[in-house]
Symmetry: none
Subunit: 417 residues, 2 copies
């Protein structure tokens, strides 16, 4: 029986970047003062790793599913289930989940505003008036709030299908009518589910248009949140429970509830805190302390997620990206000082590149390190994309990095005998 | 919306090589004096890249389909459609196309010469006498000339199949009779198509044996071109239109019509010129000028193809290979001087290796560079297979290189959200 070890994985969202003129043609990671990441790199295995494959940009959801050990192309459930889990909903195998918005419709169901005037107040009260709605065949609809105008909608009943067109006409079609849901495949389940979504939408409208919150909003000249529009239908039945599959006790530490939700989908416990904001003001050091606490409690694998590197990329703020990397570096130093390198690995990676000058996700590879007492070492001079290009992990994929960590920790079964 | 950029890709056919004693155990690329390729390499990403996978040699057609973004294993249409397009034929979805030769048959359809004495004169007149032939069920046969004795044959009709054995007995069976076409799968379409090819072949023989060109040839003691033998049956229905798929405007510049034809199959415009010969005498500098002109005209991706590196490999002419590489280097210099590196990438690759001492295509990887203002750099000391082996693109595939270029240029859609 192989001895089991523990591991901490730090995910700096959108960390990967390209040479930036303002930084002397270095990337933010290359430019940053990172003594601890440099030490981790020199003593560990390094490389630039593709989220899925070269040149394919991924969303945060797909990027994290891969890092967490899923083949996201096969199992990607659509965004609905991820949002439902993020909203704290206990999604079951046959539930169909949707991303939704509170929106405003006028005459003939024309969508006047896809975000109900970016409503932020009282969405809990509106959702509560809809949550648990029983539809004609006994199917139950659940509505849970997310940030601002966003909600997750779940239909729970017999024989539902995710293969339907939803009601949201999309940003490009604001000013047009709600889409009447229809089946995308020839299948009775899909026809039924489309009809149920239509019924749900009509009943929402009936209830919401008379809701005191909306009567007040209209009196104040604001758009009423008189309907819920839906998109991203999905079921989570295809996502494997990675924690069970590898028999690991794993945890995600993140300010961003979506990351926590993705972790929960694959069976990882989620820990957050008011200090963990998912923004530039997130308390990076506390996240490291929380990780050490969970390691002491006996978690096998603890994932620490920092979102701010991605925000800096989207907003083309290279110096802010450098600053957050330096904060992460300090946390890495504390982790290195605190763990027993002989029994706990430390790894660093990212879900995708968000180069500042591109301001969006790209298909570039992402800098990655795996460190521990018995890890082979390839000694780059510093942490950074250009130094890792010659590393032994170079051109591997996020899924490869997951498997390497699981194997180092002793959780991968031998194939053959 | 991500900003779109442009790109020029230079393909030196058969560029990859192995250490050659005559060159002091350097490859032609390592041996050549290439200041511009060296600069491109130092400032760009480099690596030796496999056309499909390690150790698998590919033909020019498959190599280019991969470089152009196809999964050639899935979509390879057979050589027939590629030749038909190369011959300028407007191939439709359900056409079945063949490579063909004018050949000479004697008694009992015995093939006396598979190339009709390497006929070069008057093939247009012979083809014209057959082109548009209507077969018994209304299927129409088209015959278009290629170089020398070569032709493309296309059958256009209802319910045709490419799964048939064709008439050409092959080089090893010269002196044997024409193959009588038969279905390779149990399928009525294939049985019909085989019968139609037989009918076409018999009618060709009827018409050609009485043709004045052949009567004159026989009078002069030459082999008459009294039949067309066919091979390489294929349909182009499976080849994706890459230009549409990625929403790019792309162009191929080549002297070799087959390369132009492969480009057309995937939706790329084809430009050639009397100076572009596909031989050692091709005007490399003019091809570069044409590429710059097309970039100025707004093409997103312009491909410049040079065949002579491959010819030098096949003929074991290492110094000639060095010479053509140095010509390509000068063109690369002009491209680098002329493009705006911030908005136009330059890449260099090859469809396969043609090592001089092997005199044939091998499954070795091919030297590859991607260069541009925001490209990560791995700084090898010079352009060449041995220097690129530590590059960040090393061991990727031609398809990966296609995707990386598309992603840099901003034409790859994100997976997930």
């Amino acid at each position: 029986m192989m001895r089991k070890k523990q591991g901490i994985l730090v995910i700096a969202d959108g960390l990967g970047d390209r040479p930036i003129s303002l930084l002397g043609r270095l990337t933010p990671l290359e430019f940053a003062d990172t003594p601890n990441l440099d030490k981790l790199s020199k003593e560990g295995m390094t490389g630039n790793v593709y989220p899925i494959s070269p040149g394919v940009p991924v969303g945060t959801d797909v990027g994290h599913l891969e890092i967490f050990g899923c083949n996201s192309i096969e199992v990607y459930p659509g965004r609905g289930p991820i949002e439902a889990i993020s909203a704290g909903f206990d999604l079951q195998k046959n539930d169909v989940a949707f991303r939704g918005n509170f929106a405003t419709v006028g005459e003939n169901d024309v969508v006047l505003d896809r975000r109900a005037g970016r409503i932020t107040q009282d969405t809990h009260r509106l959702a509560a008036s809809l949550d648990g709605m029983v539809l004609s065949d006994g199917t139950v609809a659940y509505v849970r709030t997310l940030t601002e105008h966003r909600v997750a909608v779940v239909l729970r009943g017999d024989n539902l299908s995710m293969d339907i067109e939803c009601t949201d006409p999309g940003t490009a079609h604001e000013g047009e009518a709600l889409v009447k849901p229809y089946a995308l495949i020839e299948c009775e389940k899909a026809v039924r589910t489309a009809a149920l979504l239509q019924e749900f939408t009509e009943k929402c409208n009936e209830i919401l248009k008379k809701h005191p919150v909306n009567i007040k909003r209209q009196a104040e000249g604001m758009y009423p949140a008189n309907v819920i529009i839906t998109r991203g239908a999905g079921m989570n039945s295809s996502i494997p429970n990675i924690a069970e599959k590898f028999d690991i006790k794993a945890a995600t530490i993140a300010g961003d509830v979506t990351i926590g939700g993705i972790g929960k989908l694959v069976g990882f416990d989620y820990f957050t805190d008011a200090n963990f904001t998912g923004g530039f003001d997130t308390h990076v050091a506390s996240k490291g302390q929380k990780a050490l606490e969970l390691i002491r409690q006996g978690y096998d694998w603890v994932i620490v997620h920092i979102k701010a590197t991605d925000l800096a990329g989207h907003d083309n703020l290279p110096f802010e990206k450098v600053e957050i990397i330096e904060k992460i570096d300090k946390m890495i130093g504390e982790l290195m000082d605190s763990v027993d390198a002989d029994s706990c690995y430390i790894a660093v990676t990212s879900d995708h590149s968000t180069p500042c000058e591109v301001r969006d996700h790209t298909g570039d590879s992402v800098p990655t390190i795996i460190w521990g007492e018995d890890v082979r070492s390839d000694s780059p001079i510093k942490a950074g994309e250009k130094y890792f290009a010659k590393g032994m992990l170079n051109n591997l994929t996020a899924h490869d990095i997951f498997m390497l960590q699981m194997d180092l920790m002793g959780f991968v079964k031998k194939i053959g005998a």
